[in-house]
Structures are given as C-alpha cells and as structure tokens.
C-alpha cells in the first residue's frame, strides 16, 4: 500500500477518483476457500511506476485447486493499450506516451481459472514522462600569485589561473542545502554532473580536501578562533573539527539545456592590498600537496596516505607566544604529534599560501614521518648552518622532496606582502656555508641531483624517484643508526646499478659527504672525514661503547650555535652500544667540565646532561633529570644483548627555552665533557 500511495503523489485527482474503487477491489482480492483445502488464487504482481514508451511486463501467477490453470489479462482502467500474451501468466504492453507532469494510471485485471472457482487480482501501472535533465560541468580554478624572480615578494601583476586538482566538488540543492551529487575534480580541474534535474536551483561547491578511497587524506582548515586560545578552559574545539574551507559558487537555475559553471577562488588582491576574501589560499595549499601526492603515487600507486590537516588563516602570524587557536605560530611548521601543517597567512608579516616550496617542504616532513622515519631533533635552522646530522638530513630531504614534487629546483620563500623580503635557493646550484653531511643544502642538492635529469657538471644522470622512494620506505625506515645522509646513501647504494652508484658517488663527492671514499659509505659514517674544517667534536659520528661498567668520556659543544637552538653540529654526540647482558642498566653521566656558578640563582649556568637510548627507531630509555652536572637513571626497559642500541648525549643548557639572546649569563657558549657509565642493575 505504501508503494501505491507513493505512486499516487504524482497522479492527478481524476485518476485517483476511479482508482480508489479499484484499490478497494484489490484489497478484497483472492478467492481463498474457507474449507482449508487447495484453493484457486490469482496474483497480478506488484504495482509499478514506469516511463512512457517502454515495454511493461505484467508478471502474474496463480495457484490451482485441482485443474489446469488458464490466465486472462484485461485492462479495466486508463488509456486503452494492447496487451501482448494476454492469456499467459506473464504479459506485456507498450506504455503510452504521456504529458510531462500528467502521469496516466492503467489498471489491469488478471483472471485465473482452474475449472473450479475462478480468482482475480488487479495491478496498477503508473506511466510517467521522465524528468527532463541537463548536464552541469566546468572547471574549478584558483588564482595563483607567483613570486618575483628573486623571490623577494609576490608578483601580483602576474596572477595566473590554475586548476583545483583533485578537490571534492559538490552539486548542492539551494533550497534544502543537501548535496545532490559529489565528484572529484580532474587533473585540469574539470568536473561534470550528469542527469541534473532541469529548471532547478543549485550551486557548485568545492571543498578544500583531497579524498582517496572515500577518506579525506588532506583537508585545509582554519585553525583560528576569534577570541579563543589554546589555554582556554574548557578547551576550544579540537583542531581536526575546525572549519574546513569551502568555495561556494552562486546559486543558478539549471534551465533546460546543459550548463557550464567555472567557479574560481580569487586571491582577494585589489591591485594595492588584500581587500577581498582570500579564497585562493586554501586551494593553492591543497594544489601544492596534490603535486606531492602525485609524485608518491608515481612510485607506488597503492600508497595509502594517513589523513592530515593543513591549517592556514589570514590571522596566522609570527609570535613567540605559541597559540594555534589564536593564530600565533613560531613560523610555518609541521607537527609530527598532530600530523598537521601550520602555515602563516598574516599579510603584514608573512604568507605561505603561494610559497609552494615552503608548503611542500613541510609536506616532505609529513612524508618522512609517515612513510619513512625521522630522527630529526627539529628546532630553528638557517640555510648554510652546520646542523646536527639528523636535522640536516630531515631538512635537506624535505627541501629536495619539494623540488622533486614541483619539478622545480628553485626554493622560494617570500615574506610579508610588499616588504621586498624573501629569498630563493636553487637546490641544484646554490651553496651556502660549509658543505657536508651537516649542511641541509648539501643534503638537498645531493638528493635532487640524484633525481633530476638536468646535466649539471658531474650530475649527468638520474636514478629517478623510484629508488629514492624505495629506500625511504624500506631500509631507511628500519636502519639501526640515526637517520642521516649516511644511512640513506648506504641503504640506497645496493639498490642501484653501476651507473646509479657512480652518480651517487660523484654527487656525494661534490657535496663532500663521506669524504674521501664515497663508495664505502656505511650507516655509521665510519669512514667520514669531513669534520667541518676541524670543528671540535664533529667526528666520529658514533663512539662505540660496551655497557660493562667501564667509563667513557664524551664532549659536546655549541661553538656553531649563536642562536642557541641546541641543534647544531656537535651539540649532540652519538653512542653505539654493545650490550653484554640482557638487563636493565644504571646510567650515570657526570660532567667533567664544571662551570663556575653565576650570582643569579635562576641562571642555567651549570651543565644539565640528557640522554635518549633507542633501537630500530624506537626510544627505549631516557634520562632527562634536572640535576646540575649529572644525569643518573635506570633504563625503563631491559637492554637486550644481540641488539644494536644507539644513544645521544646532549647538554640541555645549549637550548634556549627562555629566548634570551646570546651573551647573557644563562646561555654560555662553550663545550662540556661527560664521563658516561652503564652498569647492569644488581
């Protein structure tokens, strides 16, 4: 009956007037006997709603009380039609041509006779003209603002329109707000919706998200909440629920012919300033990441991308008082804990939405963190500095990855709009600072030269992205050593043919990595001789130590860390541990170079050694105590004989959590040495 009523919604009153008695008759159908024996029954099938000029099947059946069954179909209502096979259980007819908006109802009766008591049933067929439909298609685009050739500002005279590739495009009913159809923009921003009801009011929306397998793997969201702070109680809404950027087109009538709509996200630039909505920004960010995804898929089409948010706001400014909700960021960064990017957008301070290389650099960190392994210690770094090997590797990788994904070696980072600020780095050609394994530019250049096909001095070949991807997602992920250029090169080398190995060796030589014999590189940098022009404590990268109660003396220094970031060359030293007995261990670290305390009790004028111990990329123990000149701890886990454990030793006082400039008493420059002893617990 529900079906009947549903069908009646579009039936004119005159049709209902005669159909109702028929329905009453149908309700009384059947000729069941009260005797309880076999009975004759008729079933004319379920009511149907069909399109005009189509063949309609009348699907009847019956049961016999004894004799052979005969069937007879007849029309008892509606415009007259001819029934084919009218004496069979299954008959058919051609639905008549009807008028749009005026469906016709046809009633048929099936008589079933077995020579005893005849039975009848009826069925209602509603014939309609199909709804007229149109196709809605077009391209979704955004305005991209390129940088000036020297990257010292954006060039608003050269705005170009680019496709929004891969984003979710929706056809929305403007009356209800419901999504009628959803699709994904193609590589040219193209989209198409078929069979859209004609003469209806709809609009096109584009969500700043990339979906794969029905899951949003990248979403661009607004982290800023006006008047709110990360420190609010109760806390502000979770970051992953913050507003997703959605480009919303104008409402339009689909009309009666196919429609083309090309919604464009504009920059908001009026020729002198940002006075309009900066709609292009989220889609520029999204499109840069799309390039990265394509590069990864070129190596492994089955790659599954862990979901990630990219947060951007016009209110995201530089501020040392870190508060994501308030739009206060130290700079643009990737957070492994949140698996998210955070990008600046304050036009008077720094904007990133059109700095594709900055976006891709940070997404390169996402890739390394999710598909490979990052042992980077993070922190501030400027181009050309001599960094901790893990940081140099991670930063060099991210810059090179961006250049590969964008197929452009020119890293470009513009500053505040109109400030004439910004810088470029030609990953293929530029060199700043002392070259080597500690220089992020050396790492980036080496990686990019392995990838690119340009002939550039000794860079006269290419291994492509495949081996790089395979190394990153394979052995580099599980290497026993800290992830550095040495682990990557050592793990990559066996994957290459002779020509590839020759290219790797020549580029390592050019960047002064694993000097002097690049061909014997190992994950421990055992043969590395580049000590950054004699920098103390730069080499060896690893010092071997057997945890048998003996004492080893290790020194660190911050000679190369004027900005007091605690992450430069020689501020960490690495140990490779041999564990003689499976046990938990007492670890004692005593400073052997003790500073003279200053008069200020708040000065961090004493050494504060810390240590992490890890195996296969997993931290298994650490000592982060607050004592001056000593760190004593018991490993939180047993250390197992037969495994290769590594540890790093660091002086916390090299890190400047207070943000005080150098030269102040709490951030002395210098070196510290430690006696380190591992003893198995009794």
């Amino acid at each position: 009956m529900q079906m009947i009523l549903a069908g009646l919604r579009q039936i004119p009153i005159r049709a209902i007037a005669w159909a109702l008695p028929m329905l009453a008759l149908a309700a009384c159908k059947s000729s069941d006997s009260d005797a309880g024996g076999p009975v004759t029954t008729a079933n004319a099938g379920i009511d149907q709603s069909v399109l005009e000029t189509t063949t309609v099947t009348l699907n009847g059946s019956g049961t016999s009380a004894g004799g052979a069954l005969s069937y007879s179909w007849s029309q008892i209502g509606g415009p007259s039609i001819t029934i084919n096979n009218a004496t069979s259980a299954v008959a058919n007819f051609m639905a008549p041509d009807v008028t749009l908006g005026a469906p016709e109802s046809l009633m048929f009766r099936l008589s079933v006779n077995d020579g005893t008591t005849p039975a009848v049933d009826t069925v209602l067929i509603t014939v309609q003209e199909p709804q007229p439909v149109v196709n809605v298609s077009g391209v979704v685009e955004y305005e991209f603002v390129p940088a000036l050739t020297n990257c010292r500002d954006l060039d608003f005279t050269a705005i170009e329109t680019r496709p929004i590739r891969g984003a979710t495009v929706q056809l929305v009913d403007t009356g209800t707000g419901n999504t009628l159809q959803t699709t994904t923009a193609g590589p040219t921003g193209d989209y198409a919706f078929a069979n859209v009801i004609a003469n209806s009011m709809v609009r096109i929306q584009v969500r700043a998200e990339l979906m794969r397998g029905g899951i949003p793997v990248i979403e661009v969201r607004d982290n800023f909440l006006s008047g709110a702070s990360d420190s609010d109680i109760p806390p502000p809404p979770a970051q992953e629920t913050r507003a997703l950027y959605v480009l919303v087109g104008s409402n339009f009538d689909t009309g009666s012919v196919d429609v083309i709509r090309n919604p464009t996200a504009t920059s908001g630039w009026d020729g002198a300033s940002y006075s309009g909505t900066r709609a292009a920004a989220p889609f520029s960010i999204l499109d840069a990441i799309y390039s990265g995804i394509q590069l990864v898929l070129s190596a492994d089409p089955a790659t599954v991308f862990p979901p990630m948010d990219a947060f951007w706001s016009v209110n995201n400014t530089v501020d040392s008082n870190f508060d994501v909700t308030a739009g206060q960021l130290p700079t643009s960064f990737y957070s492994s804990g949140a698996n998210s990017l955070y990008l600046l957008g304050d036009a008077s301070v720094d904007t990133e939405e059109f700095d594709e290389h900055v976006i891709m650099h940070e997404w390169g960190h996402y890739f390394e963190d999710n598909f490979s392994r990052s042992d980077s210690i993070g922190g501030p770094h400027t181009l050309g500095q001599s960094l901790d090997a893990r940081l140099a590797w991670g930063e060099g990788w991210a810059t090179a990855f961006g250049a590969m994904a964008l197929n452009d070696p020119l890293y470009c980072d513009t500053a505040a709009v109109g400030s004439n600020g910004g810088f470029s780095l030609d990953v293929e050609a530029d060199s700043i600072g002392v070259q080597g394994w500690f220089n992020e530019i050396s790492v980036a250049t080496l990686l990019y030269d392995l990838f690119d096909t340009n002939v550039d001095g000794t860079d006269n070949d290419s291994i492509g992205f495949g081996p790089i991807f395979d190394t990153m997602t394979g052995p580099q992920r599980f290497t026993p050593a800290f992830t550095t250029i040495h682990t990557f090169a050592a793990e990559l080398r066996p994957m290459l043919n002779v020509n590839g190995q020759a290219l790797l060796d020549s580029q390592m030589e050019r960047e002064n990595v694993n000097d002097p014999d690049e061909s014997i590189v190992d994950i421990w940098a055992s043969t590395e001789n580049n000590d950054r022009n004699g920098a103390r404590d730069a080499l060896p990268l690893y010092t071997d130590y057997t945890a048998d109660g003996s004492t080893i003396n290790i020194c660190v220094n911050n000679d190369l860390d004027n900005e007091v970031g605690g992450n430069k060359l020689a501020e960490y030293r690495y140990l490779r541990l041999t564990i003689p007995t499976t046990d938990t261990y007492n670890v004692v670290i005593d400073a052997t170079t003790i500073s003279t305390p200053t008069a200020d009790p708040n000065d961090r004028d004493q050494s504060d050694p810390d240590m992490y111990i890890q195996v296969d990329g997993q931290i298994v123990a650490f000592g982060l105590g607050p004592n001056d000149n000593n760190e004593t701890f018991t490993t939180q886990n047993e250390l197992l004989t037969g495994f290769t454990y590594i540890a790093d030793i660091h002086d916390w006082r090299f890190e400047d959590v207070d943000g005080a400039p150098p030269g102040y008493p709490d951030t002395p420059l210098g070196n510290m040495c430690f006696d380190i002893t591992f003893t198995a617990t009794p």
């Binding site: 913050r242 530089v318 993070g378 050309g384 495994f643």
Partner: protein, 178 residues
C-alpha cells in the same frame, strides 16, 4: 632536562616467537612523544634574534636588542626597519630606518639595538628586514617582532564566513567568482 614533556609509556611485552628452532626477540620500547615535535620551515641564511627591553608603554621609547647571525659571514648585511601601521608605532627620531651590519668575525653574531615608540595600545609589529648579496643575487629575510603594548588585543581579520555543512560540520564559506 626537558622542562615540559609528555611521555606515554607503553611497555610492550617481549615477544618470543619460535622460528627455525631459534627464538626471535623483539626489543621492548617506550613510545615517547616529546613536545618538541615541530619542524620549522627553513629560514634564509640569516638568523635574527631579539629581546624587548622593559615593558612597552604608549609614547615611551622601547628598545629592542637584536642579534644577526649570517651563514654568509664575510658579507655585510643591509638591515631595514619597517612598521606597517604608521598610526600604531614609529621609529624613534634618532633611529635610522636602515643600517649596515658589518661582516661577522669568525662564527660570532652581531648585536644591535633599535628603538621604537608605540602610539597606541595593542599588539604591534616591527618588521626587521636583513638582506645579503650573494653570487646568485640578494637574499632577504623578514622577522616580525610582536610588541604588546597594554592589554589591547591584536586586531583580527575575517576571511569568508563561518557556517556549517549539511552534516553540521564547521566550514568557512569562501565566495567563488563565476
């Protein structure tokens, strides 16, 4: 010592699995999430650090100590001070808008001082641009120094309109041009 850190211990049991008559052992690990999980974007070849001296007050000079550290040590830096909102803050009369920072000696940075005068309360910004000429052209980094004057909040901008989608999820509506 990490002043603040989050440590989540997941002390995993040692997994023993017989394989070809030999037990394979998986080392127990600590799942550790330090708060220092942030990887900054690369800065240009110049690092600028700063410290604001004293509490900024409207109409009173505010001194800011700066330290410039360039990876291109042999090259002098061209430094320019810029204030976007001229009604909010200005450079002190005696403060030149541009200076040249001589090439650093060895690995040491160079310290300088700039003086500004806030003209209203709020979160005001001094942009410090430091440029250096290289063989490949000039590079410039801009460091924004926030100066909080009084308790007035920072001025914010609207970009698009807040809304919800059909599922009730928050969205920011950006109008398209068609």
């Amino acid at each position: 010592m990490q002043q603040t850190f989050k440590v989540f211990f997941v002390l995993m049991a040692v997994t023993l699995a017989a394989a070809c008559g030999k037990a394979e052992v998986e080392a127990p690990v600590v799942t550790f999430t330090p708060d220092k999980d942030i990887v900054d974007k690369p800065s240009g070849p110049i690092a600028v650090r700063y410290r604001i001296i004293g509490k900024p007050v409207v109409g009173q000079p505010v001194a800011i100590e700066l330290m410039f550290d360039s990876s291109l040590r042999e090259t002098p830096l061209a430094v320019a001070y810029r204030i976007n909102d001229a009604t909010a803050m200005r450079l002190a009369d005696s403060q030149p808008a541009t200076i040249t920072v001589a090439a650093a000696v060895n690995d040491a940075g160079s310290n300088h001082r700039v003086t500004v005068i806030p003209m209203r309360e709020g979160r005001l910004y001094l942009n410090v641009s430091a440029s250096v000429d290289t063989d490949e052209g000039s590079m410039s980094i801009v460091t924004a120094i926030p100066i909080q004057v009084g308790n007035a909040p920072r001025a914010f901008q609207e970009n698009g309109a807040a809304g919800t989608d059909e599922n009730g999820d928050a969205i920011r509506v950006l109008p398209a041009q068609e």
